[in-house]
């Protein structure tokens, strides 16, 4: 069971308190009516689905009811960071090769 740092509550919480809401950073096209069916289909249905770092949207449903983003490795399930909506991740696929693996969970009180 995942242990997720809620950036609003400032604590690690059990996965049971959260709801996963899919890939993050998929902005709704500003002018949907200008989209072709293909572009609209891409927006609605097509996803990166990577093996590796995934930026995804979570909702702390049982806690503060806020959405936030997480960068998670879809193979090891390690969560490298959680961050606020509207901000960008520090860990990305490009930077991953140089970024050290997080040795300590975000928010872990030690």
């Amino acid at each position: 069971m995942l242990h997720i740092f809620c950036p609003h509550c400032g604590e690690l919480r059990s996965e049971e308190e959260f709801h996963a809401s899919g890939q993050a950073h998929i902005p709704r096209p500003l002018d949907p009516n200008a989209c072709t069916d293909k572009e609209w289909g891409d927006y609605m249905f097509f996803r990166d689905n990577p093996r590796g770092l995934h930026h995804e949207l979570w909702n702390h449903v049982a806690g503060c009811r806020q959405f936030f983003n997480a960068t998670r490795n879809t193979v090891t399930y390690e969560i490298l960071e959680t961050y606020l909506i509207g901000t960008q991740p520090q860990f990305t696929e490009q930077a991953a090769s140089v970024a050290p693996t997080a040795t300590r969970e975000q928010g872990e009180k030690v």
Binding site: L2, W40, F67, Y77, I79, I85
Partner: protein, 1005 residues
């Protein structure tokens, strides 16, 4: 004679407490402190079961979790049956009733054994894939017999009388295993002030020290254990869990512990006690001190009762004071196993010989054995054992490890116990649960934990650290490390002194060769529980199975309840040799939870029966019950379905309720509808974006119906939203959709349009909603309210505030029945009082409570949809003939607009919602029934739609339905047909979906 094999003294059993138990109908005696296996051995019971495939007699083989054979049925009553209990892990209690799981008529004379002997040859691995295919129709019959023969114990057939629960923990350090390394780690971690949990699967802490010959600080090792436990118990944040197996190591350091609270007391928990508890632990650091498990050697007839794991012999002698035989022959490839011979000798028993696969062993224990005159045959191994129901002898011969061959005819030695040790396998199970591949270490001939995303420290045997002194040091150091990684400062500690003895390396021997070759030699078992032999593994590789997973799956190696604890490494070694690769090249299979099996009830905890899931009730539930309502599950809610009177059935009650609403007035508890308070200057704009229709011009005091679509343009919820003030709205949603809609609003506000200033708050529970519906609703309501209900003053689709039955209320004049209706919203605390007053006042109007079924009928008569019943996530507003609710010119491209304009969504001939009127007015179209234009076509038929709602008992006097039909809106007046399961066909006319009061006059009166 009682306890024939009990030694005159020794062991940790309490000889003053004699316990009586039954095995296969016969009564025996044992002592408190015995395991069931120990007690059976004490009584000289050799055969405890029959093997699963060949029905060979089997005896107790091990002393712990790795036991493959002694898997018994326990339980004195039907309801308390427990299948597949390992006798080695079951504490003896007074009155214990155990039986074997296989064997007919009994385990000693098993008829299936004869079949096994004859048929055994016909049952190589995978034989069932190669046969039972013809004739085709016979498989189900074959299968019935295969199923009967398979399986071990049986499930009870009555409900479990016991309770179970879960408990959540958080700790800094969880220590798995309370042997020397685990206890040392626990002391180190606990002294630092960390929150520590120590869990161990055995009845008491101590691990290998429970039967060790070794001393600490010159005293018996168990004295140190007692001291350590006492110290740990004295610390405030330390939890000690004996009889508690850590079974699963899940992601992010979440582990589960299965604690058996009362299994040592009986098959049923004492009154008021929980039988088993599943602990859910989040640990900052985990110390794995799970030790190592002895491997047997694989030789001919190694399954005959009297063959036993070497270490198990020591356990029975030293811990339980039981000698599982008289004359011991030990076959080993390592030093450590020599302690068995020494223990045996100390117990006054006869050691026939030790066969050591090494050519010139010189370790300390070897020398001690030599000095005590034990005969040691070097460069040799037990090739095969003899005996049917008990070992009577074994042949020891010289072997060549390089060529894997027997180099001398050897010698038959008379013995009744063959103890075998093929080295030690670190218990890497938990360390591998997250997919970490264990790594092979040639120096210890075992797999140690590999890399894994686990925040853990491995100590002691699991690391291949076997010496007692080393193990303690490794444990202590690991405990310090774990605590410091969890943020605690380590405290110095002094470790007890252990005697460091010279130990020589183990030699690689897994499968003992036989002159006849593996295929023709007496059966050499690798996995005793699944009857997998060395020959089977070789055959699998011969047939082309090269991957370890293939071999495992083809032979069933490791698929038993012991999950191959004894056999996996040996099987791997045999496969590797026959494929001419090394063991690490062969790799290992995956380890998955559980380490040992866990009771379903313990996992389920208290979440069963009436608290399986929450039941939601409205504030009026007690009244509904009093009225005799029948209830319907809607999401988590229980809603009154109908209110039968005088033994009415559903149809009669609904007909009466419908009529009452149409003729006079009815009352419905609508409190379950979702209600969301919306405030903020951008609330209106938000509604514009989220609903399909326009909200710009809705004045304060008015209410409007709206549809919500997903981005794909498909309807997913609906409801009425009212404007309470310029920046203030209250939205209603469907009962089942309430939470989903709130989430939907939040996700768009928080992630897509954070610039819109608007807040959403659920008020579903705050308000109770009473709907008065029917021509007399105005009259009735006027008697209990100060609100001016005049038609002009309070028109349709508006709301007013005022007192109802003395309670401040918001009253909405909206209608789901097509009748004059008022929805009264009051703070839920006061709902019952208001209801009672309305009911009192309503007597003279025959005020009739109605349930969801009547509500459904009445709305269907009006053609109003129910999202989720008339829609299925694939329907646009136009499909529902609700184009009037689509704001085609709204400036912002609202949710769903783009989606509903995709190519397939705007094509002709989509399925559209229409009314359906059976040609025979008494015929009922089943809800869900498929429709065709041509009922005479052959199967597969071309289906053109289906019935979504259908009501034979209503206020109209004839059966009617709603449904979707391909191009239906242009086919009004045409016929459709519904072929039924019984061969009949129901014919219906396609009509408008509004059956009643098409102009809507009645709701406007």
């Amino acid at each position: 004679m009682s306890q024939t094999h009990r030694l005159p003294n020794g062991g940790r059993v309490d000889r003053n407490k004699v316990l009586t138990f039954t095995f296969n109908g016969q009564q025996y005696k044992g002592y408190e402190g015995d395991s069931l296996a120990a007690a059976l051995l004490a009584n000289g019971v050799d055969i405890i079961g029959r093997s699963f495939k060949y029905s060979r007699p089997r005896g107790i083989y091990a002393a712990g979790a790795e036991e493959p054979n002694a898997v018994l049925q326990i339980g004195a009553t039907e309801a308390t049956q427990i299948p597949n209990v390992r006798a080695t892990q079951q504490a003896l209690y007074q009155g214990l009733v155990a039986t074997s799981t296989n064997g007919w008529p009994n385990v000693n004379t098993d008829m299936m054994g004869i079949l096994g002997k004859v048929g055994g040859k016909l049952m190589p691995p995978g034989f069932y894939y190669k046969t039972f295919m013809y004739p085709k129709s016979f498989w189900m019959t074959y299968e019935k017999y295969i199923r009967k023969a398979a399986g071990l114990g049986r499930s009870p057939t009555q409900n479990d009388p016991d309770t179970y629960d879960n408990m959540n923990h958080h700790c800094d350090v969880l220590i798995v295993g309370a042997g020397p390394a685990g206890l040392a780690a626990a002391l180190a971690a606990a002294r630092s002030g960390a929150r520590v949990i120590v869990a161990d699967e055995q009845e008491e802490f101590g691990g290998s020290l429970l039967d060790s010959r070794e001393s600490l600080d010159g005293k018996p090792a168990m004295e140190w254990v007692a001291k350590a436990i006492a110290e740990l118990k004295g610390l405030p944040d330390v939890k000690l869990l004996p009889r508690a197996t850590v079974n699963g190591y899940h992601d992010h350091n979440f582990l589960t512990i299965h604690e058996r609270l009362t299994d040592h007391l009986g098959d049923r928990a004492p009154i008021g006690q929980v039988r088993q508890r599943l602990h859910r632990v989040r640990a900052k650091r985990v110390v794995l001190a799970t030790g190592a498990c002895e491997r047997p050697l694989v030789y001919g007839n190694n399954d005959v009762p009297g063959n036993m794991l070497a270490g198990a012999v020591s356990t029975y002698v030293r811990r339980y004071g039981v000698a599982p035989g008289k004359k011991l022959l030990l076959s080993t490839n390592n030093d450590h196993a020599y302690r068995v011979a020494l223990d045996w000798l100390d117990a006054g028993q006869n050691v026939v010989a030790v066969a050591d696969a090494r050519s010139n062993p010189r370790g300390a224990l070897v020398e001690e054995a030599r000095a005590k005159g034990i005969r040691i045959l070097t460069g040799s191994a037990v090739i095969e054992a003899r005996g049917t129901k008990r070992v009577t002898g074994a042949r020891v011969a010289a072997i060549d490890l390089k060529t894997h061959s027997v180099t001398s005819p050897g010698e038959w030695l008379e013995c009744d116990l063959v103890a075998t040790s093929g080295g030690y396998s670190p218990v890497v199970h938990l360390a591998s649960h997250l997919g970490g591949k264990p790594t092979w270490r040639e120096d210890i001939l075992g797999f140690v934990p590999g890399e894994a995303p686990q925040k853990r420290v491995c100590v002691g045997g699991i690391n291949g650290v076997y010496g007692l002194g080393d193990s303690l040091a490794d444990g202590f150091e690991g405990g310090v490390r774990a605590a410091s990684e969890a943020g605690f400062k380590a405290v110095e500690g002094v470790l007890p002194k252990a005697l460091n003895q010279l130990q020589e390396a183990t030699v690689a021997l897994f499968h003992v060769p036989h002159e006849k070759g593996t295929a023709r030699a007496p059966k050499q078992f690798v996995d005793l529980q699944n009857d997998v032999t060395a020959a089977a593994i070789e055959l699998a590789t011969r047939e082309g199975f090269e991957s370890v997973e293939h071999v495992k799956r083809y032979t069933a190696l490791g698929f038993g309840t012991d999950q191959g604890k004894l056999g996996n490494v040996n099987g791997l070694a045999i496969a590797a040799r026959s494929l001419n690769v090394t063991i690490p090249q062969m790799g290992t299979t995956m380890f998955r939870p559980n380490y040992t099996p866990v009771t379903f009830g313990a996992i389920a905890g208290r979440h069963c029966g009436h608290i399986f899931e929450p039941v939601r009730y409205t504030a009026l539930q007690a009244w509904h019950v009093k009225q005799g309502a029948e209830f319907e599950d809607v999401g988590q809610w229980k809603r009154p379905w109908y209110f039968p009177r005088n033994g009415e059935d559903l149809h009669a009650a609904v007909k009466r309720e419908c009529q009452a609403v149409r003729d006079s007035v009815g009352i419905l508890d609508a409190s379950t509808l979702g209600k969301i308070d919306i405030q903020g200057p951008d609330a209106r704009e938000f509604l514009n974006r989220i609903y399909t229709n326009a909200w710009t011009k809705l004045d304060v005091g008015k209410a409007r119906y709206g549809l919500m679509c997903k981005e794909d343009g498909m309807v997913f919820d609906d409801g009425v939203t009212a404007c309470l003030a310029d920046n203030h709205f209250v939205m209603t949603t469907t009962t089942g959709g309430a939470a989903r809609v709130l989430q939907w609003l939040e996700i768009y506000q928080q992630t897509e349009w954070p610039e819109l200033k608007v807040y959403f708050t659920s008020v579903t529970d705050h308000y109770a909603t009473l709907t008065l519906s029917g021509p007399n609703s105005r009259k009735l309501l006027s008697e209990v309210t100060d609100i001016d209900l005049d038609r002009e003053a309070f028109p349709f689709m508006t709301w007013k505030e005022g007192l109802v039955a003395g309670v401040p209320a918001r009253v909405f004049r909206i209608s789901f029945t097509g009748e004059l209706s008022y929805e009264v919203n009051i703070q839920a605390d006061y709902a019952m009082g208001v209801l009672e007053k309305i009911v009192e006042a309503g007597k003279k109007y025959n005020l009739t409570p109605y349930g969801t079924e009547t509500m459904h009928v009445l709305r269907a008569e009006k053609g109003f949809i129910i999202v989720g019943q008339d829609t299925d996530g694939s329907m646009t507003p136009d499909d529902l003939n609700m184009g009037w609710c689509v704001g085609r010119t709204k400036p912002f491209s609202w949710l769903g607009w783009r989606g509903m304009n995709r190519e397939d969504c705007v094509r002709d001939q989509r399925k559209q919602l229409v009314g359906l009127k059976p040609v025979n007015p008494t015929q009922w179209l089943p809800e869900g029934a498929q429709l065709v234009f041509d009922p005479k076509q052959t199967i597969p038929m071309t289906m053109v739609g289906h019935v979504t709602s259908s009501y034979a008992h209503n206020s109209l006097g004839y059966s009617f339905a709603m449904g979707v039909v391909k191009g239906g809106l242009k086919r009004i007046g045409e016929r459709v047909f519904s072929p039924q399961a019984d061969g009949s066909v129901i014919e219906a006319e396609i009509v408008s979906s509004v059956f009643f009061d098409p102009k809507g006059d009645r709701q406007n009166i």
